[in-house]
């Protein structure tokens, strides 16, 4: 899936980073971004918000590792770090490194840092909150104000379940969709978000390549999906988009994004 969107003005610039290739996309041979489903969501929200689609630069996980090395941020930190903090420490350091990079890259560069919450069904909200807080704390420490944490709970597939539940026959699109945030993020589980989405999309392969195309994503009413992890991300992203365009924020920054 390569980017199209001909006819739209491209003046905004975002650094994007995250794990896995199917969500944000991959780097083409020339280093440009071959967009994935999450980037198409960014395109769509941006288009609706200000009629523009940003340019992107993907910072892969190995790029971020390199950035951290350049900034002398040790990979594992000093020994002795409590196991329970290893994830948030890594996210904080990555967010900080990415924010420093984005600031140096362009004066008004946005940054979207994507991560699935993953994990089991146990305390998904706590884990999600900790991840989001760590990201915004890292942005803040770099004195950077255009950072956006994109952290679906439990995984990006959950956001699409909100729409594709219409294929189930018993629900309409967008019905009570916050319940999907409590599902297991473990792909090995029988009732995982991923397996349910594949079932509802009648897809046995890669659902993001085969079914959820750029055109499909444009059909989804993102404002209609009432899932906290999506709403908080969306509002923050819309704030950053409008802020980068020199306009005032359309939404009050919520508690998770107060840092920025």
């Amino acid at each position: 899936m390569t980017t199209k969107n001909q006819g739209l003005r491209r003046s905004m610039f975002f650094v994007v980073s995250g794990e896995g290739s199917s969500d944000l996309g991959t780097k083409d041979l020339d280093g440009s971004l071959k967009k994935g489903a999450m980037t198409f969501i960014l395109d769509r929200l941006s288009e609706l918000s200000c009629g523009q689609v940003p340019d992107y630069e993907l910072q892969s996980e190995s790029d971020v590792k390199q950035l951290r090395k350049l900034l002398n941020l040790r990979d594992t930190g000093p020994r002795g770090t409590d196991e329970s903090k290893k994830e948030s420490e890594k996210l904080w350091l990555n967010s900080y490194a990415l924010a420093v990079y984005a600031k140096r890259k362009e004066e008004r560069a946005g940054l979207v840092y994507f991560r699935d919450t993953d994990g089991t069904r146990a305390a998904p909200h706590d884990r999600w909150k900790r991840m989001v807080d760590a990201m915004y704390s890292g942005f803040k420490h770099a004195d950077y104000k255009w950072g956006v944490a994109m952290v679906p709970r439990p995984k990006s597939e959950a956001w699409f379940l909100a729409y594709y539940q219409k294929n189930d026959g018993t629900h309409n699109a967008y019905d009570k969709c916050s319940r999907f945030e409590d599902m297991s993020g473990n792909d090995g589980s029988q009732n995982s978000c991923k397996s349910l989405l594949m079932r509802w999309c009648s897809c046995s392969g890669n659902v993001y390549q085969d079914v959820i195309t750029e055109e499909e994503i444009k059909c989804i009413d993102w404002n209609h999906i009432d899932m906290p992890s999506l709403t908080i991300f969306r509002k923050r992203f819309e704030n950053v988009i409008t802020g980068l365009n020199g306009r005032s924020y359309p939404h009050p920054d919520c508690q998770y994004t107060r840092a920025s």
Binding site: R74, G77, R79, S137
Partner: protein, 384 residues
């Protein structure tokens, strides 16, 4: 237990306090921030209670804050003894080398002991205060060191303060040196063989057991008795005897530190605790330090790893940042109570949080916040 200390006019500690001290505390800060001066302050108070009006061969006038015309060092130590809060405070005259004014009282204000202008001693009797003329007494340090004390509270305060013991950076050369029997270790660790020689068999065995957790190959330490009471340290590992000169520095330091569990001091202060210690055993060391029998410990460190082995709650309680204003005066804050650092601690270990904090910028911001003299040219980047 010492719960707080306040001082005026002692070297860079012009108006300085460390409050809410827990049984284990840790001082961090840049080089030259005043950590060693705090160590010297504790040493100084200990010396006063032994009737010494000077320390380390320094002229007491050198102890006065640079640039100050004051001739008096004001000291207050808060103590918790048998669930009672008491304080000792007074004024040390650097010319007379003694505490001219001195007072011990309970936190409800009731006074137990008072020295007025080096001339009058007031002891609280059963009903009325007992006043005595002491103008004829020629004492140095604290008057408490010269009196025969029967009141258990006054005696406890005196003993607590007299048992403050500070160590400079433990020096391998000093630790290796032969010594005579001694019930205390010197400032740099000299006298280790002599100190070890006076431990009883139970203490030696217990020390060896703890030491073997650090160095499993170690089988025993031994004291070789030489002529005229001199003693040398030997260790045994794998049936091999290692002479003092060949014992590794780390082992010597660990041995010296752990041996102080059996010293008579109630409060021990170690400088740069991580020095010469392999990172593989830092965790064990930090565990030991936090549970040092019935003793209170204060250490200084530059090591993120040492801090990382404290849990969050211990880190918040026990780690103090020392920093200086532009006039070179030292101030202290609980490090993890500083909002910007507290936020970092939510997401990372205490050591990593220190690593991610620019201590120079932070010091500038703290000075700004407290309206202390600071360098205006320094840009601040973190919200303190």
């Amino acid at each position: 237990m010492i719960t707080g200390i306040k001082v005026r006019n002692f070297k860079s500690l012009s108006d300085f306090s460390l409050l809410d001290l827990p049984p284990f505390s840790c001082l961090i800060g840049l080089n030259g921030s005043g950590k060693t001066t705090v160590l010297q302050l504790f040493d100084f108070i200990g010396q006063l209670m032994h009737g010494r009006g000077e320390m380390r061969g320094w002229n007491p006038t050198e102890l006065i804050t640079g640039g100050s015309r004051a001739r008096t060092i004001h000291l207050t130590v808060s103590l918790l003894i048998d669930d009672k809060h008491l304080s000792w405070h007074g004024a040390f005259n650097v010319d007379k080398k003694r505490m001219e004014n001195e007072q011990i009282r309970f936190d409800n204000g009731s006074e137990l002991f008072k020295v007025e202008a080096g001339r009058t001693l007031v002891m609280q009797g059963e009903n009325n205060p007992d006043r005595k003329d002491i103008a004829f007494l020629n004492y140095q340090g604290s008057l408490l060191s010269s009196l025969k004390i029967s009141d258990p509270w006054i005696l406890s305060v005196k003993n607590e303060l007299a048992s403050l013991k500070s160590f400079d950076l433990l020096s391998p050369a000093s630790l290796r040196s032969a010594s005579k029997k001694s019930n205390e270790l010197g400032l740099g660790g000299d006298g280790l063989p002599g100190f070890l020689s006076q431990l009883d068999s139970e203490q030696s065995e217990s020390l060896m057991n703890t030491l073997s957790q650090f160095y499993p190959r170690l089988q025993a330490f031994e004291i070789k008795r030489r002529q005229f009471g001199w003693k040398n340290l030997l260790i045994k590992e794998y049936q091999r005897t290692v002479q003092t000169g060949h014992i590794n520095d780390g082992l010597l330091r660990i041995l010296a530190i752990l041996s102080q569990r059996y010293s008579s001091s109630g409060f021990l202060f170690f400088d740069e605790i991580e020095n010469g210690i392999n990172q593989e055993i830092v965790q064990k060391l930090v565990e030991q330090l936090q549970n040092f029998r019935d003793k209170q410990l204060m250490v200084t460190t530059h090591s993120a790893q040492v801090l990382n082995y404290l849990n969050d709650s211990a880190a918040r309680k026990s780690v103090y940042l020392l920093y200086q204003d532009i006039e070179g005066l030292t101030h202290a804050r609980k490090f993890y109570d500083i909002p910007a650092v507290s936020e970092l601690l939510e997401f990372m270990g205490p050591g990593q949080a220190m690593s991610q904090t620019n201590l120079i910028e932070l010091a500038t911001q703290l000075c700004q916040k407290d309206d202390l003299p600071q360098n205006d040219d320094k840009k601040s980047g973190t919200e303190a």
